[in-house]
């Protein structure tokens, strides 16, 4: 169960990033994200990504953990890129060695058959090979297109042309790079910062703003309670799932109506459990002297070190560079 929540999971290693002050990490991440949103130049984005990946290497966290957090939105990215490349018709048609990148696809009856066959194959394969489903899916899509490009026997049903335009390719690449940048950055933050520290960091950042201190302190407490209880509630969910399964509820099959009933059979006990937990927790907190919004001292006092200051200096330089390049019309 816990395997699936890769994104946002702290990975305990000892590196300089791990030791940075959480306030510094949050502020740097946030402003760098804004900076990256301003960049429209692919080369500049590539340089950023390269730089962020270099930083990633210094965290001692295995790269595949980062790759896994890409996986979660890979599908979305691929579709965005696909639609940009296929449907964006602004700009010149891209030429390679003097040839236009224009392709004609024809759907014949034979192709239709092949297509259906491939889809069936894809689902059958899914029963055997559970891994690399995304790659399997892409290969099958590619095969369908290939068959429509080259197997042109028999009467055709419909024929269509796709040409790749500069603008589409460019936008697709830019979106891809931007998202990769953003995901790596936020993974960098969540992998190297304990939830408690993230929370304390957010609280610390808003501390100087007196007028919003109350709200922030309540918000931080809510976040920390959420962080505390998410694993517990996931545990309870899997217990209920098992209990229902042992009573013969099959969560994988069934009609739409069955599915609704199954979800209700999960939600009702979850709601009851959560309500009981919330009531008990509120009692325990109140009995231990918690007054919402009141000033509290913190066990994790935040302190800036030299490395934090260096990171801030870097951040200022980074933002300044983007602004200068932006004014100069370069990025």
């Amino acid at each position: 169960m816990n395997d699936r929540i890769v994104f946002g999971q702290y990975i305990n290693k000892d590196s300089w990033i791990h030791r940075l002050d959480p306030r510094c990490k949050i502020i740097t991440l946030f402003l760098m994200m804004i900076g990256i949103f301003l960049i429209k130049n692919i080369y500049a984005l590539l340089i950023c990504l390269g730089f962020i990946l270099l930083v990633v290497l210094t965290t001692k966290i295995p790269l595949h953990k980062f790759l896994r957090s890409f996986k979660m939105i890979a599908m979305l990215l691929i579709f965005t890129a696909f639609f940009q490349i296929v449907f964006n018709t602004y700009g010149e048609i891209v030429k390679v060695n003097g040839y236009d990148l224009t392709y004609t696809f024809t759907l014949t009856y034979l192709n239709l058959g092949i297509g259906i066959l491939l889809i069936v194959l894809y689902f059958l394969l899914g029963k055997i090979f559970r891994k690399f489903r995304l790659i399997q899916f892409l290969i099958f899509v590619a095969l369908i297109f290939l068959s429509e490009a080259f197997i042109l026997i028999g009467p055709s049903i419909v024929s269509y042309t796709i040409s790749i335009h500069e603008n589409g390719l460019y936008t697709a690449l830019m979106v891809l790079l931007r998202v990769l940048n953003l995901i790596t950055l936020s993974a960098l933050l969540t992998f190297t910062t304990k939830p408690t520290d993230l929370n304390g960091g957010i609280e610390g950042i808003f501390k100087p703003f007196k007028f919003m201190r109350k709200g922030v302190s309540i918000f931080a407490m809510m976040m920390s309670i959420a962080l505390r209880f998410i694993p517990t509630l996931l545990n309870e969910t899997s217990k209920i799932l098992k209990a229902q399964a042992s009573r013969g509820v099959d969560f994988n099959d069934g009609s739409f109506k069955d599915k609704v009933m199954q979800i209700v059979s999960l939600l009702v006990p979850m709601f009851v459990i959560s309500y009981k937990k919330a009531e008990d927790l509120a009692n325990a907190m109140e009995a231990r002297g918690y007054i919402p919004g009141d000033e509290r001292t913190r066990i994790y006092e935040l302190k800036y070190h030299i490395s934090d200051i260096l990171v801030y200096i870097f951040l200022v330089l980074f933002l300044a560079a983007i602004i200068v390049l932006k004014i100069g019309g370069i990025v």
Binding site: T232, D280, N283, M285, R288, G289, D294, R296, R298
Partner: protein, 268 residues
Amino acid sequence: MSLIEVRNLYFRYNSSDRAVNGVNLDIDKGEFVCILGHNGSGKSTLAKLLVGLLEARKGSIKIDGIELNEDSVDEIRKKIGIVFQNPDNQFVGITVKDDIAFGLENRKVEKHEMEELIDKYSTMVRMNEFLDRNPEDLSGGEKQRVAIAGILAINPEIIIFDEATAMLDPKGVGEVMEVINSLKSKKTIISITHNLNEAIMADKVIVMNEGKVVLSGKPNEVFENIEILKNSKLDILDSMKLLEKVDNSNINLKEEVKTALWELTYQK
């Protein structure tokens, strides 16, 4: 003057009958008090009233001479801590250290002082090596010990245990009871329990039924009233069942057997 004085206390949840129905109570400093009563007899409600989580409809609670009301409740909560039944639902912090710190943070204790107190009391409940652990990686008994450390750190005079061992496995019960026993000489303890063996060791036993205190006194005085205990749907000790048998039969030397059995009951 007693440390805890409860006079004529009434409380009713919106829906139900009277949950606490005219309770009078006196508990002295340093006493170890057990509250017995079947499910729904109002024990938890009384405990929540004592720590100000619920507001009485009628009657008064005085703790250490201070009358419990809206203004004094923060003051009183420094004098009285409570450990609840469910280990998971009262664990506030993300780590053991966080959880022990929670009450101290609320009382605005300085960081260095907090570190010292956390160190001291986590060692006392033997959880000092688990300070960075998350609650998911702790057993129920360990979580309850953390809860106790969190309350001890605030240094209250009174600690209420509301069936604090009811959800634990035998090993956990043993560990937690060991900690509770080590506190007996230092704190005033109110233990709500179904465990008669624990009650026998108490300085005072209070039996509740339908929101009322039906018996109160030293364990030997209370356990003599077998009829009332039975009416309160309470279990009685095996030796007491034997006693009853002997009482109802006509064996000779009745008095001697009875005395011997009473001795047996309180020997432990």
